[in-house]
């Protein structure tokens, strides 16, 4: 409400009185507003200068070891140790993926970026082909590239060597790509007329929601081998992927259910009266509306999932955050500032990804609203 009002005033005031008018209209329009503005300015004045000093002015940009980042007479208060990040950067991205094969990971990132842009850019050409590429071609291509295919000369790289951003992206992407359709199916099952189907859905959703993700991951990696001989047990990363996808799908199911409830009964009746089958009714009439209504919640779940991927470290998988943890423990780089610097990099990475998703959702919402569909 206030944002909209603010925007109105910006235009009106700017035309009249320039910068001062804008300031008065937006930041000092009432005593309460003025007080809040002052508090915010003080807070920024308190936080920003030391932050800028640490991150940029006092930062160490190059060096070969901890000595560069330790306090000395030349630099009594060393800032962020960017030298550490520079040296370890490729480890943060690829983990222990063999040096000579890292072009495969780069290619995977490129292919994924293409798919994401193709699908998320709403006026892109041939989005149907894009969907086919994203949901069918891309998973196969990714598996061949990352895992390897000896038949065409790509050596197999065991998942134990995967790490860093690569693992984070793989876990998040698999979680998102599987949780949405699985969540939709579970939500539909929960509203089904068939008691057995409904019971299964409710039991699954409530069980998974009642258990922390860490527990699911421990169960997948520790308990499964107790029942299955180690030789037959699936790959450790695969187990974690399945755990994350199932976990996320239970949450997604509840989000989608909220959207389904928001679609009026009349829509179901109109679709049925036209002779649409159940699946056509859902796919063409109900779900497009339900998913549109609940889009902010879907993205919210995706953001949560993206950050939850960091939990795979508990079962010994080297995701992005874990590679930073590993690097900062390197005795060669033990310095008071390396840990902080590593965490700054991690925070920046997660923030950029999550904020990007959030902004994208906002723009889609605005587009739906403009189309006059709501």
């Amino acid at each position: 409400m206030s944002a909209i009002g603010g925007e109105f005033r910006v235009r009106g005031a700017a035309a009249h009185a320039g910068v001062f008018g804008w300031l008065r209209a937006n930041l000092f329009s009432s005593p309460a507003n003025a007080a809040l503005t002052l508090v915010c300015i003080l807070a920024i004045a308190w936080i920003a200068p030391p932050l800028i000093r640490f991150l940029f002015l006092d930062a160490v940009w190059s060096g070969e070891g901890r000595d560069a980042c330790l306090a000395s007479i030349a630099q009594p208060h060393p800032g962020a140790c960017w030298a550490f990040v520079r040296v370890w950067f490729s480890y943060f991205v690829y983990g222990s993926y063999p040096m000579g094969e890292r072009w495969r990971v780069d290619l995977f990132f490129l292919a994924l970026a293409l798919g994401v842009v193709w699908l998320s850019w709403l006026s892109a050409p041939r989005r149907d082909v894009g969907a086919g590429y994203f949901f069918i071609a891309l998973p196969i291509l990714s598996f061949v590239l990352l895992h390897g295919a000896p038949l065409i000369g790509l050596a197999v790289v065991p998942t134990a060597l995967w790490g860093g951003v690569l693992v984070t992206v793989v876990v998040a992407a698999i979680g998102m790509v599987f949780s949405l359709p699985l969540g939709i199916l579970l939500a539909l099952a929960r509203r089904s007329d068939m008691p057995v189907v409904r019971l299964f859905a409710v039991a699954f959703i409530e069980f998974v929601r009642g258990v922390p993700l860490i527990t699911v991951l421990f169960m997948a990696s520790v308990m499964l081998p107790l029942f299955v001989p180690e030789r037959l047990a699936p790959d450790k990363l695969l187990r974690a992927l399945i755990g994350v996808a199932l976990f996320a799908s239970a949450y997604m199911a509840e989000v989608v259910r909220g959207g389904l409830v928001a679609v009026s009964r009349g829509q179901y009746e109109a679709a049925r009266a036209l002779g649409l089958t159940y699946w056509r009714m859902m796919g063409l009439v109900i779900l497009p509306q339900a998913l549109g209504v609940t889009l902010p919640n879907i993205v919210n779940t995706f953001i949560g999932l993206f950050k939850d991927t960091t939990l795979v470290f508990v079962v010994g998988i080297f995701d992005f955050l874990r590679t930073i943890e590993a690097a900062r423990a390197d005795p060669k780089w033990t310095a008071p500032t390396t840990t902080v610097t590593g965490y700054v990099v991690a925070a920046l990475f997660y923030f950029v990804c999550c904020y990007g998703m959030s902004r994208y959702a906002r723009s889609v919402e605005a587009r739906l609203a403009r189309a006059g569909r709501r």
Binding site: G266, E269, R272, A273, G275, L284
Partner: protein, 258 residues
């Protein structure tokens, strides 16, 4: 046609009977929504059902395309007896168009897409053909220049006319109207009723739940008065309005005409 007779469990379909309802009962616990409804609608016949709210008129209408189920009795539509069998239900629904009180257009689709959805996905019609068909009906209901708008941008009367066009795009033999004008302002009522009068002139079988007595007088072959889940009176419009047989009908007409 031969497919229809395959599905009919009830002997040979009668070519001149569009809808047959035999001993229909519907109840929730102790509460009867429909009691022993018997009704035969001839092909091309236009029937208006009226009565106080909660009397079961809409429920009866919705039994004809099985949006509602029932506990006892039979409903036979175009020779197909409606049972639990989903195939039969779909067969009947594809043959019966329905217009709702609140229009129920699909808000995420344009007017044209609303009309082509079922022809494309149910009748498997090529898109171009479906669009041409939709345009002919949208011209008939006088919405030809708004076809690329979303329903929310149209007035209530326009939306209801689109809903009629959407139903007609399936080339139904029978049209059901469930209080099509009661959510509309008076001037919009007229444009929708005019459309329905034109449609009636085409000779399609129509069952209309409505309190529009002018429409009933002008168009109906028979008027049915329902109260308390029962058919109280079935009469020709002239007799129905001028000399109703039952006290309850008389009271209802007195209320509604004042």
């Amino acid at each position: 046609m031969q497919q229809r007779s395959d599905h009919s469990g009830a002997g040979a379909p009668q070519a001149d009977v569009a809808v047959e309802v035999v001993g229909l009962h519907k109840w929730y616990g102790d509460f009867y929504v429909l009691r022993d409804i018997n009704l035969k609608v001839a092909r091309g016949e236009r029937i208006v059902i009226c009565g106080p709210s909660g009397g079961g008129k809409s429920t009866l209408l919705r039994c004809i395309n099985r949006l509602e189920d029932w506990q006892r009795g039979r409903v036979i539509v175009d020779g197909v007896e409606l049972t639990e069998d989903p195939k039969r239900i779909l067969t009947v629904r594809r043959d019966v168009g329905m217009v709702f009180q609140h229009f129920n257009l699909f808000p995420h689709l344009t007017v044209l897409e609303n009309c082509t959805l079922a022809p494309i996905w149910v009748r498997h019609m090529p898109k171009r053909e479906a669009e041409a068909l939709a345009m002919t009906y949208l011209v008939r209901v006088k919405i030809p220049d708004q076809v690329h708008k979303y329903p929310a941008r149209l007035s209530g009367g326009q939306q209801q006319r689109v809903a009629i066009a959407r139903a007609l795009c399936m080339n139904p033999n029978i049209m059901l109207f469930d209080e099509p004008t009661s959510a509309l302002d008076p001037e919009m009522k007229k444009e929708v009723l005019d459309t329905m009068v034109e449609l009636a002139a085409d000779g399609i079988t129509m069952l209309v739940v409505s309190h529009e007595m002018g429409f009933a007088r002008q168009v109906a072959d028979r008027v049915i008065f329902m109260d308390d889940g029962q058919v109280v009176e079935v009469n020709e419009p002239k007799n129905f309005f001028d000399q109703p047989q039952h006290e309850r009908t008389r009271m209802f007409l007195k209320q509604i005409l004042n």
